[in-house]
């Protein structure tokens, strides 16, 4: 009887520990974040609004498709007319990038350093938009003390750039919602100075779409320039059939 009681107590303690997530390491959590973010296929339409230091706004609408958990990506601009039909194809987790310029009908292959460039002058770089397994492949994760962020109970992680990585940020601090493993906020630190925060991403309006928890709104704050860019999802679909032929130079020019 005593033995059964002890087993039951141990079981309850174990379940409490599991429920509170104490057993999860930083690597476990970032793996779950990666699994949540990188669904097999996706198709989205999004509106990007840049708010400049002077307060004026620039708005872009883009359509994107991804396959193989983000290994293949295609982004095509729909608005404004100035950039309509410009498109970016990223393959092999963005190690291969091609850009299509409709006015000159020219496709230009870009080196990976182009990921550091601002997307249409916004506060998002191509690198910030995330591709494949960057959180796992390029950073070492360490779990910090749990914190509340943006009203959610969160795991707090510190990601330190691996020496062999050429990504732009020396480290990241990420707040991950315990309930669904959505990264609700990310702080980005300077390439050379790991103590200097340069950008902050805040996500909101989490909805479950095709069983995937999805942040419908993301705002990137550039803390150096005091500007911000908002990315709002207009339509999202997950796990839809996408042909491999969509992710070719031929399709890029369509």
């Amino acid at each position: 009887m005593m033995k059964q009681l002890l087993t039951a107590v141990l079981m309850i303690l174990f379940l409490i520990m599991v429920a509170s997530g104490q057993e999860l390491t930083g690597e476990d959590i970032i793996q779950k974040v990666n699994d949540t973010m990188n669904v097999d296929t996706s198709h989205a339409k999004a509106k990007m609004t840049i708010v400049t230091t002077s307060g004026s706004k620039r708005t872009f609408v883009q359509e994107s498709w991804s396959k193989n958990k983000g290994e293949k990506n295609l982004v095509r601009y729909l608005e404004p007319r100035r950039v309509k039909d410009q498109a970016v194809l990223m393959l092999n987790n963005a190690d291969d990038i091609w850009m299509f310029f409709p006015r000159t009908q020219r496709v230009r292959k870009l080196a990976t350093h182009a990921k550091k460039q601002k997307m249409q002058g916004s506060d998002f770089s191509y690198e910030d938009m995330g591709s494949g397994d960057a959180f796992i492949e390029d950073y070492v994760s360490k779990r910090l003390e749990d914190e509340k962020s943006e009203g959610y109970d969160c795991y707090k992680l510190e990601l330190t750039r691996k020496p062999e990585s050429d990504l732009s940020y020396s480290r990241l601090i990420i707040w991950v919602i315990k309930e669904n493993f959505v990264p609700i906020a990310i702080d980005y630190y300077d390439d050379k100075d790991p103590s200097r925060r340069v950008k902050r991403l805040v996500q909101s309006d989490i909805r479950v779409i095709d069983d995937i928890p999805t942040a419908m709104k993301s705002v990137m704050f550039d803390l150096n320039d005091n500007t911000q860019t908002e990315l709002e999802m207009l339509e999202v679909k997950f796990n839809i059939p996408l042909d491999d032929n969509m992710f070719t130079e031929r399709a890029l020019k369509k």
């Binding site: 840049i50 400049t52 230091t53 004026s56 620039r58 708005t59 608005e79 404004p80 007319r81 100035r82 309509k84 092999n92 190690d95 291969d96 310029f101 006015r103 000159t104 009908q105 020219r106 230009r108 292959k109 870009l110 080196a111 990976t112 350093h113 182009a114 550091k116 460039q117 601002k118 002058g121 916004s122 506060d123 050429d166 732009s168 390439d191 050379k192 320039d225 500007t227 491999d244 032929n245 992710f247 070719t248 130079e249 031929r250 369509k254």
Partner: protein, 403 residues
């Protein structure tokens, strides 16, 4: 007689594409109409005067998808010029060159800008799984170079403005995807006879993180002899000749740098063979500054500037050949000063005559669909060189509104 038959055939071809397109358009619900209006002012200080040329350009594009497989696209351009619309090339050249020209011919070296309305592109594209067929007047972009493209026998870019759109060319183009990474392209650009028409074959592929292509072209190259005037045609004597070109290009990444190279060897029917070579590299720093360098060699260009003659200058300025000097370098740096403003500096250096041009640039976004592009150009080389002081210093400002 034969010539007229081919001219007629060419027009039937263009009008056929347009006719077919318009008749199908009538049945369409969705025809996209868009384009831009462009207002441009250009100025140059020359011989103590500052000359100005103003341009108004309206481009109207039409586009319609007849089905998932068939697309029609076209654009009409109207260009209106104002200001100094006639430029005598001799005003830019040194006495060494102009003194070789008889006095009664000195008024013939005029480059004129006259108002123009034209059909720039009009084509139909048929896309099916085994091939893409593009029929009609279309842009043809070849090669990986940014400023110079040795394998592009159709276009010559403006060194000061290399990303400006190029004109359309009437052609039948067939692209056959052999695999996701490999494409075979065959192109036929008709002229008055089969012999004078352009034939092109290209294989594009990828190995690791490098794209490459191999290209073979046969084309009649339009050349003039600018020392002899043909009074029957009221133009300089046409000395066009057939050119056979074999070349290739590649683009990829090496040690973190974007790198590209392009090479073309040209066998000429009458004049001497020559080759062109481009190698380039670019990089984006973490602080967002983008830098690019390109080296260009064209053995049609002269290695000693004292050998530049009137034919070299005219063929270069009339865009019949890509360079007058043999070896050049282009260096470009650009930085986003704010989220709406990009500032840059282009430097073009000619190794053959030690001349250099500095071209500070500016791109500003006035609104979602209106932007401003401007540059100043300072030619600092000595007289008679390609970027010499006598070419004048000036600049350009261009406002473009998209609709």
């Amino acid at each position: 007689m034969k010539k007229w038959v081919f001219i007629l055939a060419k027009w039937v071809f263009i009008l056929g594409v347009l006719g077919l397109s318009w008749s199908s358009l009538a049945a369409q619900e969705k025809l996209e109409i868009f384009g831009y209006y462009e207002s441009q002012a250009m100025g140059t200080g020359l011989q103590g005067e500052f000359y100005q040329l103003f341009t108004n350009k309206l481009r109207v594009d039409l586009k319609s998808d007849f089905s998932d497989n068939i697309t029609f696209a076209a654009n009409f351009d109207y260009i209106h010029y104002l200001g100094k619309t006639e430029w005598n090339v001799l005003d830019f050249l040194s006495d060494d060159v102009t003194s070789t020209i008889p006095e009664d011919m000195q008024s013939l070296y005029i480059i004129a800008f006259s108002n123009d309305t034209f059909l720039d592109n009009a084509y139909m594209k048929f896309s099916f799984k085994p091939f893409d067929l593009t029929l009609g007047k279309q842009q043809i972009s070849l090669g990986t170079g940014y400023v110079w493209n040795p394998t592009d026998v159709f276009n010559i870019k403006d060194v000061l403005d290399p990303t400006y759109e190029q004109p359309g060319h009437t052609a039948l183009r067939l692209d056959i995807p052999l695999s996701p990474a490999y494409t075979l392209t065959a192109l036929y650009a008709p002229e008055e006879t089969w012999e004078k028409s352009t034939k092109l074959l290209q294989l594009k592929g990828a190995i690791s993180h490098f794209d490459y292509n191999i290209i073979a072209v046969e084309r009649v190259w339009p050349f003039h002899d600018y020392t002899e005037f043909d009074t029957e045609y009221m133009n300089f004597v046409d000395v066009s000749e057939k050119r056979k070109m074999l070349g290739g290009s590649t683009v990829g990444e090496l040690l973190g740098l974007g790198v590209w190279a392009e090479y073309a060897y040209n066998w000429m029917e009458k004049s001497g063979d020559f080759y062109e070579l481009v190698v380039g590299a670019d990089y984006t720093f973490d602080f967002q500054t983008y830098v690019m360098m390109e080296y260009y060699r064209n053995t049609l260009g002269k290695s000693d500037y004292k050998d530049y003659d009137i034919n070299d200058w005219m063929r270069f300025l009339a865009a019949e050949q890509k360079a007058i000097c043999r070896d050049q370098a282009y260096i470009f740096a650009q930085h986003p000063a704010t989220d709406l403003l990009n500032v840059g500096l282009q430097t073009i250096y000619c190794f053959s005559d030690n001349s250099v041009a500095f071209v500070p640039t500016l791109i500003y976004s006035l609104s979602d669909n209106v932007d401003v592009y401007a540059y100043l150009n300072f030619n600092l080389g000595k007289e008679s060189t390609v970027y010499g002081k006598n070419m004048g210093n000036g600049g350009l400002i261009r406002l473009r509104a998209y609709f």
